[in-house]
């Protein structure tokens, strides 16, 4: 399923979805420690996190994640939003938990 399709199916709120939403999502990674995410996340993953700071879009870009989903209603910092836009990282927020999101994403892969 593509980024766009997953966002619609999971009823996610888009904060940055101007680019790259037609990309296929091929896996899922949950993580909040950015160095660990950098060592474990795979290209094409939907990355679920409760971090909303400036470094999140940078790490998503470096690891080539397909999308970022910020769980538990955590908001994305304005600086982070700017960076997500400039890097073209589809980014969404939701009130759902990381566990719930992962279960729902499993059904989409």
């Amino acid at each position: 399923m593509t980024v766009k399709e997953i966002a619609e199916k999971l009823n996610l709120t888009a904060v940055c979805d101007e680019e790259n939403t037609d990309r296929e999502v091929t896996g899922c990674h949950i993580g909040d420690l950015l160095s660990l995410v950098m060592s474990k996340a795979q290209s094409g993953d939907a990355w679920i996190t409760i971090q909303g700071n400036i470094n999140v879009p940078a790490v998503a870009s470096l690891t080539d994640c397909a999308m970022v989903i910020i769980a538990e209603n955590i908001q994305l910092d304005p600086q982070a939003l700017k960076r997500a836009e400039s890097e073209g990282i589809p980014t969404y927020i939701t009130e759902k938990s990381a566990f719930q999101l992962a279960c729902e994403i499993k059904e989409c892969l």
Partner: protein
């Protein structure tokens, strides 16, 4: 050989997370344009980003020199920070001296140096307390 070398230079500003990652992001774009494989690009970008973040957190910034040839990518990170007290400890997964503020930003997991080692083919750290640190990393294009 010399005409096949691309040299890049970046300054890393201290205490500014808004620009940390700019150098690794820029190198990533250059490598993509030059046609390197996604695996090589990822290894270079992650190793560089870890080092850049360390320079911002611990060392009041510094500078990075990158040399790209068809065979390898070498990244030399130089700072005038406090130096690394115990390199063996710094290489252990989970060991970190980062403060609470840094941890809240998602860093300080103690994975920085282990990630640099994991993603590069050669890692040399030269450090002197009170003087600074040079992290010299090479990724081979296989």
């Amino acid at each position: 050989m010399a005409e096949n070398t691309v040299k890049l230079h970046y300054n890393v500003d201290p205490d500014d997370f808004t620009v940390a990652g700019e150098a690794s992001g820029a190198v990533k774009k250059v490598l993509k344009q030059l046609g390197f494989s996604p695996d090589v690009i990822r290894r270079v970008a992650v190793a560089m980003y870890e080092c850049e973040i360390n320079m911002v957190i611990h060392a009041q910034g510094g500078h990075i020199d990158v040399e790209i040839t068809p065979e390898k990518i070498r990244m030399i990170h130089t700072d005038q920070g406090p130096g690394i007290k115990d390199i063996d400890k710094a290489m252990q997964e989970g060991f970190s001296t980062a403060d609470e503020k840094v941890r809240e930003l998602g860093f300080g997991a103690g994975m920085g140096h282990p990630n640099m080692k994991r993603y590069t083919d050669d890692l040399k750290i030269t450090t002197e307390i009170g003087k600074g640190t040079v992290v010299d990393m090479t990724v081979l294009v296989k």
